[in-house]
Symmetry: C2
């Protein structure tokens, strides 16, 4: 939501410019990061981390979408965050993972071994500051989502989610926010339901309703056109920022 300084330099040879750890890093630090990093790919549906596992890396999403999920013993689940490209994963200074992380689409991660990363962080205050900033962003986003979960109707929830995806998509493509937006849903109906605290049937029904009312247009099941973002935002009951980073 509050995307600060995008890095002008690349993190080593990462195919994207991380918004994460390398902003403002100088050449020495980037070299150090380079030395402790490696790439991993995950197929859609694969788990990346299980809640409670010992985490031995932190990193950023390079491409694809991952989800953070909480689960109850009886199987009820709630998605508590979406990780989009450039989002950071992991908790420097923490032993275990707090939630399940899974690849929603095929995912490429740029990982840093945790110990050396923490050591680099000790020596490099601006990395710690950057992480604090990112964590505050995520906290804002999580709290915004609490309002969605606690007080919004099903229709408003769907509209909120669509608005977030549209907005986030806009940050990755040049041009910024316009009235008309086109994007592909990166989530199944079930994943959307998990995110919104709904059932997949309700998600489906509300998407159909938004379509019938001309708020969105659908081509196939995933390809969405929003003819007028302002109308969508109204449906979301929300003229505030609405960005959820995960």
């Amino acid at each position: 939501m509050n995307a600060p300084i995008l890095s002008q330099s690349r993190c080593g040879d990462c195919p994207i410019r991380h918004r994460a750890v390398c902003a403002r890093c100088n050449a020495d630090e980037l070299e150090e990061l380079d030395a402790i990093k490696y790439y991993r790919t995950y197929e859609a549906g694969q788990p990346i981390i299980w809640s409670g596992d010992v985490m031995n890396f932190v990193g950023s999403v390079v491409s694809g979408i991952a989800s953070l999920t909480q689960t109850m013993e009886d199987g009820r689940t709630q998605m508590v965050g979406l990780l989009l490209p450039s989002d950071f994963v992991g908790r420097p200074g923490r032993e275990g993972a707090a939630y399940d992380v899974a690849a929603t689409t095929d995912v490429v991660m740029c990982c840093f071994r945790k110990k050396p990363f923490e050591e680099l962080m000790e020596r490099t205050p601006h990395i710690a500051h950057r992480l604090l900033e990112m964590t505050l962003d995520e906290l804002d986003a999580a709290r915004e989502w609490m309002l969605v979960l606690g007080r919004k109707t099903a229709r408003e929830k769907i509209a909120s989610l669509l608005a977030i995806i549209a907005r986030r998509d806009a940050t990755l493509t040049p041009g910024g926010a316009t009235n008309r937006m086109v994007f592909d849903l990166p989530l199944t109906r079930e994943a959307m339901a998990d995110y919104l605290g709904l059932t997949l049937e309700t998600v489906s029904r509300q998407i159909s309703a938004l379509k019938k009312d001309g708020i969105i247009e659908l081509e196939g099941k995933r390809h969405v056109t929003v003819p007028d973002m302002r109308r969508l935002m109204e449906e979301a009951g929300d003229d505030s920022d609405g960005g959820f980073l995960g």
Copy 2:
């Protein structure tokens, strides 16, 4: 939930030992903190910060309980965090406040002027680390609460809230968690409803139901005895940690 090192030294003459910024601070730093700090009191019900206001301080709650609240244009509100004594308020490096903060009971705050605090933070990496740690705790708590909001029934929500208050109370009184717990509810039924994404009628009914079923005992409207914490935790559908710090 993950209360790390409690400060052995006091933050200047604060009447409580902050768990917040002064853990591990040495004498020099405490002196600096002392120089930029001041106390403020707020009466129950009073606003402390309005969403969007420019914040010129950060600080900790010394006594009393404050709440963080999100509001929609049409008046629906969702509490997104509870601030209990020793909890930190404010967002170093951020201009504006993201939510309304209000005193739920009478509150005493120990405030630090923001600019000098940020400067001290620049020079003192362990303060930045401490803040990162606290922010990660809050993020965990917020995400845990998303599960409560999105997937739990009204009864489970009430039980979860009672468990959190009981647990948090226990961290402030010696002895730690036992089976039997006694505490006072620091929230009105309405505030509980705001926190849980329910109406106050539902809160009242579910509390009555828990009482009828012997999960809790009530003396007056606020004084609660939990004869067996394990039973309460079962009702919360939750054998995990469940601590929400705010």
